[in-house]
C-alpha cells in the first residue's frame, strides 16, 4: 500500500492559504485518494458502530495527511473545506455509478424496500451537484457553504471558522442557498 506523503499536505495548505491556487489542485488528489483508502479499510474492518458521517472520514483523512499535533483549529477547518470538495466529488462519482448500474436491471425475488434509499439519494446527489455548479456562478460563497455543510458534514460554526465569516452569515447564506437550490432542482425536473 502506498502511503501518502506525510506533511506535504501541510505545506500545500499553507501555500493555498497564502493565495497559491495551484496548491489546491495538488491537495485534491491526495485527499481524494486518502478518503478512498479510509473508506475501503472501514469496510474491511466492519466495525459495528462505525458512524458514517462524512466528517468522521474527513477527520480521519486529516489525521493521516497532516501532522496535526500543532495544527490550530483554523488549519483543521481549512483542510475540511478542501476535503469537502473531495468528498463531494467522491459521492457524486459514486452516485453516478449507482444510477448507471441501476439501469442494468436487478433481479428481485424478495423485495428489498431498501432499494429505494440509495437510488433516490443518488439521483438527488447528482441533481444537487449540478445545481451547486449553477449556484457557484451566481454566488460562490453560498455554493461553498452548502458543499461544506452537506458533503463535508461540517457544523455551522466550523464552516464559519473555515471561511472567516460569522455564524450569522453562514446561517443566512445557508437558508437562501437551500431555497435557491430547491427551486433550481424543481425547475430542472419539470
Amino acid at each position: 500500500m502506498d502511503e501518502p506523503p506525510q506533511g506535504e499536505i501541510t505545506v500545500l495548505l499553507a501555500a493555498w492559504r497564502q493565495g497559491d491556487p495551484e496548491a489546491l489542485n495538488k491537495i485534491m488528489p491526495l485527499v481524494y485518494a486518502e478518503l478512498h483508502r479510509i473508506a475501503r479499510r472501514a469496510w474491511s474492518q466492519q466495525p459495528h458502530n462505525n458512524t458514517l458521517q462524512p466528517t468522521a472520514l474527513i477527520n480521519e483523512a486529516y489525521l493521516k495527511l497532516a501532522s496535526s499535533e500543532n495544527a490550530s483549529f483554523k488549519d483543521r477547518m481549512h483542510f475540511f473545506a478542501v476535503a469537502s470538495s473531495a468528498m463531494r466529488q467522491i459521492l457524486v462519482n459514486h452516485a453516478k455509478g449507482r444510477l448507471a448500474a441501476k439501469r442494468g436491471g436487478a433481479r428481485a425475488h424478495v423485495s428489498l424496500d431498501d432499494v429505494q434509499p440509495v437510488h433516490q439519494e443518488a439521483a438527488e446527489i447528482v441533481a444537487l451537484h449540478e445545481a451547486l455548479d449553477a449556484l457557484q456562478a451566481v454566488d460562490p460563497r453560498k455554493s461553498k457553504i452548502v458543499e461544506m455543510r452537506y458533503f463535508g458534514g461540517l457544523s455551522v460554526e466550523e464552516t464559519a471558522e473555515a471561511l472567516d465569516i460569522s455564524v450569522r452569515t453562514v446561517n443566512r447564506d445557508w437558508r437562501l442557498a437551500r431555497s435557491w437550490l430547491i427551486r433550481e432542482m424543481n425547475r430542472e425536473s419539470t
Binding site: 458521517q53 449507482r98 425475488h109 428489498l112 432499494v115 451566481v138 458533503f151 437558508r175 431555497s179
Partner: protein, 346 residues
C-alpha cells in the same frame, strides 16, 4: 446572465421578507417590481420545502464504504445458514438465498453494519424483529429468526417464489375480482398484525408479494428501516427532519399525519393500504405527481377522485370504502378488520 446585477437586492429582500409576519410580507412583496417579486416569491416558496439537505448523504456514504455490496460468497455461513446466492441489493443491505437446517431455503436479509449507528438502533431492530417473528398469518411472510453475525444483523425469513406488486401493477390492468381478493388478503394480514399490537408503517407495492400460488404476502412487518442516524441534526432552517429526501420513495403511500410528523397509528397503515388498493384497482396512484412536492400537496389537500372516474365497473361500495380509507382524518378511516370484512362480503 441578467440575474446577477440584482442578486444582492434579491438576497436583501428575501431575508427581510422572511423576517416579517405573513401579512406584512405580502405588503412588502406587493410593492416590488414584478420580476423581482417573482424571484423572491419563488425562493420563499422553496424555503418551506422540507425535501432537501435535511440529512447528510448517509446512504450513499454507506454504499460507497461497502465498496462491493453483496460481498458474501456462496458457501459462507451466517448464523446457521449457508449462503447460496445473492438475490437483491439495497441501500441498507442485501438479500441472499441461503439454506438452513436440512437444506430448507430461506431468504436472508443482511443489514449493513455501517448504517446501524447506535446501540438503540440495534435494540429497536431486534425488538421489532422479534415482534414480527411472533406474527403467524398466511398472508404475512414468516420471519424465522433474527440475529447478529460478523456480516451484520440478519433476518432469516420464508423464501418466496413470486414477484412484488410493483411489477404486478406495472404489467397492466388488473382484473377487478382479483384486485378485490388480493385487497382482502392484505387487509386480513394487517388486521391480524394490529390485533397483535404491531404496525407495519411502510405498506406499499414494493413490500407486498404475489406468490406464484396466488397467495399474497406482506413483507417487512414492523422492521426498522430508514433509521435516521441519531447524530443527524434536524436542519436549523425550520425543517422538521421527519421527511428526509431519502424517504421520498415511500412518500406516495404516506398518510397525511405521518407527513406532519405525527406518530403512526393503525389508521396510518389503513391509509397506505387504501392507496395501494386504489392503485391496484384504478390503475393509477391517487396522489400521483411530477415532483415530491406535488405528491406532498396531493396527500395533504388534493381531493381524491373516485376510482369510478378512472375505470368503469368499479362497485360503488368498493369505491366508497377506498375513499374512506384515504380520509385525511385518521379517526374517520375504517379499521383494517372492517376493510377485510367489507372486501370478503363483497
Amino acid at each position: 446572465m441578467s440575474r446577477q446585477p440584482e442578486w444582492e437586492e434579491i438576497e436583501r429582500i428575501y431575508h427581510e421578507a422572511l423576517d416579517l409576519p405573513v401579512r406584512e410580507r405580502r405588503a412588502l412583496l406587493a410593492r416590488l417590481d414584478p420580476r423581482l417579486r417573482e424571484e423572491v416569491e419563488s425562493l420563499i416558496e422553496a424555503d418551506s420545502s422540507t425535501m432537501l439537505l435535511t440529512t447528510p448523504p448517509t446512504h450513499m456514504a454507506a454504499d460507497l464504504l461497502d465498496g462491493q455490496p453483496g460481498g458474501l460468497a456462496a458457501g459462507q455461513r451466517v448464523g446457521r445458514y449457508e449462503i447460496e446466492s445473492l438475490l437483491s441489493i439495497g441501500g441498507m443491505g442485501e438479500v441472499y438465498l441461503a439454506r438452513g437446517d436440512g437444506g430448507m431455503p430461506v431468504a436472508l436479509k443482511i443489514l449493513r453494519p455501517h448504517l446501524v449507528v447506535s446501540a438503540q438502533a440495534v435494540d429497536r431492530f431486534e425488538t421489532e424483529a422479534r415482534a414480527a417473528s411472533a406474527l403467524r398469518h398466511p398472508n404475512i411472510v414468516t420471519v424465522y429468526e433474527s440475529g447478529r453475525s460478523p456480516a451484520g444483523l440478519f433476518i432469516a425469513m420464508e423464501w418466496l417464489d413470486g414477484s412484488t406488486f410493483r411489477s404486478v401493477i406495472h404489467a397492466g390492468e388488473v382484473e377487478l375480482s382479483k384486485a378485490i381478493n388480493w385487497g382482502g388478503q392484505a387487509a386480513s394480514a394487517i388486521a391480524a398484525a394490529h390485533r397483535a399490537g404491531i404496525l407495519h408503517r411502510d405498506i406499499k407495492p414494493e413490500n407486498i408479494m404475489l406468490v406464484k400460488t396466488g397467495v399474497l404476502k406482506i413483507l417487512d412487518f414492523g422492521l426498522a428501516r430508514h433509521g435516521t442516524p441519531d447524530g443527524a441534526e434536524p436542519n436549523a432552517i425550520g425543517a422538521s427532519g421527519t421527511i428526509s429526501g431519502t424517504l421520498s420513495g415511500t412518500l406516495l403511500y404516506m398518510s397525511p399525519e405521518i407527513l406532519r410528523g405525527e406518530t403512526a397509528t393503525s389508521a396510518s397503515d389503513v391509509f397506505s393500504l387504501g392507496a395501494f388498493l386504489y392503485e391496484l384497482a384504478a390503475g393509477r396512484h391517487p396522489f400521483a405527481g411530477d415532483t415530491p412536492l406535488d405528491v406532498f400537496e396531493a396527500i395533504e389537500c388534493r381531493p381524491v377522485a373516485p376510482m369510478s372516474s378512472l375505470r368503469t365497473g368499479i362497485p360503488v361500495r368498493i369505491d366508497q370504502l377506498v375513499l374512506e380509507m384515504l380520509d385525511r382524518e385518521p379517526e374517520m378511516r375504517p379499521s383494517a378488520e372492517e376493510v377485510a370484512e367489507a372486501l370478503r362480503t363483497l
